[in-house]
Amino acid sequence: MPILTADMSAGTLVTWRKKVGDAVKRGDIIAEVETDKGLIDVEVFTGGTIERILVQPGAMVPTGAVLAIIREEAGILPAPPPTISSPPTPAPAAAGRATQAPPQIPTAPGRQRISPLARKLASDLGIDLATLSGTGPGGVIRREDIEHAAAARMDAAPKEQRPSLDRSARFRQAIGAAMARSKREVPHYYLSTTIDMQPALAWLAEENLKQSVTDRLLYGVLLIKAVALGLREVPELNSVWRGAEAVPSPAIHVGVAISLRGGGLVAPALHDTDRRSLTELMQSFSDLVRRARSGGLRSSELSDPTITVTSLGEQGVESVFGIIYPPQVAIVGFGKIVQRPWSVGGEVVSRSVITATLSADHRVSDGHRGGLFLASVDRLLQDPARL
């Protein structure tokens, strides 16, 4: 099958113009072939007689396939079919060089080579860059270098002081240092309110009866969702410090405080808390708890929260005023659900209630705005079906 067009790889034999036994000479048309460009004549380049036809009309065969055998006349010996040495496949380096970007200009001495992403993450996690060396090409500091430093910092707070500390003790020490700095530097103000949980708990019990046990919800998820939706009304509480400026973050990622067995606390983020259903939040929350306790959290989950919620109800504490986690600007606390006398429609009854608190950074919001926030959380919890 001859190559008849620029990009032909196969052809369909349509008709034979010669039959077995016919004599042919150079230049005769012996067949017609259908190609991508249409019907084209097939020319023969040697004289002789057709001995055998191998491909029947209608068959599609790749270029180079033998269509027929021609016994050449003794006299004319055609030039041996030229053997072609295939062009060298271009050495990637050589071919690539012509298309390469200009070489990196060496940075001025003292100027650290660090990716913008790594620089941002380092400032978020409070990692000191001076001591770091990068694993990227040419010693560039990259994201994973910051993550390793953050993880290492978790493991090894200042080593030289107490080399023999076990992991959780060192970890408590690192959290303590961050808390101390936050307490010193951030002008906290504190608000608290008591919220009637009766409608929420009644709705929850009913919901859980309808669900299978694997989809069962905890009341904590309702609290978290109420906080997230409340932030939509007071967005400055959902700000994060970027350098010298508190920037309201467009997304709401509520960090959920999870206590680790044997002491220690982490507050990984439930991403886009306000936009996810209670069931989704429950599954993510359960997953976070499991991974927090098995040390499987990702550094982004640690650095992404835009606010934190802490709950000590299970430990029997009625109200907890948290310390803000930098670079966040607020922390919400929930205590134990207790029975309290509560006036409903002028009549005093016993109701399940909870104390909700807000500790917030006075540079970014004031008590009036904090109060509005707690009021909206309270209002949201009174209509649990719409959470």
Binding site: A101, P102, P103, Q104, I105, T107, A108, R111, Q112, R113, I114, S115, P116, V140
Partner: protein, 344 residues
């Protein structure tokens, strides 16, 4: 299409001293030197002879050098550019004037498929030592068809060189340098520069093609531009200086080859870059400069590279609309403010 005002009197030229002359006079000086210095040099273009050049650049040259070497052509851009290529193949050193870059579109096949390609495609046998001059840019209320800035298109083509003189000295220096190049050189002369005056050293050597120039040193941001936008960029730098922002201004002078080393060295110092280019933003020449800064100076950047380009619209006629479409000193200052954050 048409010239403004009468011919400017040629200034009296001192010995090797500096002479104050306009951009168009500097080019005329360059053409005169070339024509008298090399018999292979001749000019070709619409109205370059009797009319004296639509921008009065070739005024007086027909009388001085005769119709054989200063040739008015029919309005056949493809053929007189192709003829320029053929004459260069035939051993001449033609200088073809395409009145404005807007009319060069009719000659793009000759420019791309012949001028830029013949040396490579012929395995090195054919060289095309051709110089093409074109007026370019907007800002004179000539509306959409007469105001294009297409440096980005031409600078995309390997095989030719592109220069954009912003000062009278460079207008002459780059022309003389272009005439010594064995490959085609396209000179973009911004139409608003012809009447601008500047010092020109009479005996100056040709300017090296491929070398940018620092027109103003600074520490806090690098403003990169060429040709007709240099004036506005220097104005912006002066305004920023009043606010305590010390801007470095780089005049690229040559677009292909681009002096990336000079640009990257400046960005390594200031860590911020703004590229000013009258082309439309998408696929503009500024996009290439920005990409090279990202590739070559990534770890020196404290902010994304900013580009100040023309609005992506066919150039409107009305003055206030055209001004709004073109880069201005104010838009350059604003770009620097945005980059440094509100409190600058």
């Amino acid at each position: 299409m048409g010239a403004r005002g009468g011919p400017d009197q040629a200034r009296v030229r001192g010995g090797d001293a500096m002479t104050k002359m306009t951009y168009r006079e500097a080019i005329r000086e360059g053409l005169r030197e070339a024509l008298s210095g090399d018999p292979r040099v001749f000019l070709m273009g619409e109205d370059v002879g009797r009319y004296g050049g639509s921008f009065k650049v070739t005024y007086g040259l027909l009388e001085e050098f005769g119709p054989e070497r200063v040739r008015d052509t029919p309005l056949s851009e493809s053929t007189f550019v192709g003829a320029g290529i053929g004459a260069a193949l035939g051993g001449m050193r033609p200088i073809v004037e395409i009145m404005t870059v807007n009319f060069s579109l009719l000659a793009l096949d000759q420019i791309l498929n012949n001028a830029a390609t013949l040396r490579h495609m012929s395995g090195g046998q054919l060289g095309v030592p051709l110089v093409v001059r074109m007026a370019t840019g907007g800002g004179r209320q000539l509306a959409a068809q007469h105001s294009h800035s297409l440096e980005g298109w031409f600078a995309h083509i390997p095989g030719i060189k592109i220069v954009a003189p912003a000062t009278p000295a460079d207008a002459k220096g780059l022309l003389l340098a272009a005439l010594r190049e064995p490959d085609p050189v396209f000179i973009f002369e911004h139409a608003t520069l012809y009447a601008v005056e500047g010092e020109v050293d009479d005996g100056a050597a040709p300017v090296a093609i491929g070398k940018a120039a620092v027109r103003r040193t600074g520490e806090s941001v690098t403003l990169i531009t060429y040709g007709g936008s240099l004036g506005k960029t220097l104005q912006a730098a002066d305004q920023l200086a009043v606010e305590g922002i010390d801007a470095e201004v780089i005049d690229l002078r040559s677009l292909r080859p681009l002096d990336s080393a000079m640009v990257l060295a400046s960005v390594a110092k200031t860590h911020r870059a703004v590229v000013v280019d009258e082309g439309w933003r998408m696929c503009s020449f500024a996009a290439e400069v920005s990409a090279q800064i990202m590739e070559g100076g990534f770890y020196d950047l404290d902010a994304p590279v900013a580009r100040v380009c023309s609005a992506e619209v066919p150039m409107p006629y009305a003055k206030h609309m055209e001004d709004a479409a073109l880069p201005q000193a104010a838009t350059i200052v604003q770009a620097v403010h945005d980059m440094l954050g509100a409190h600058g």
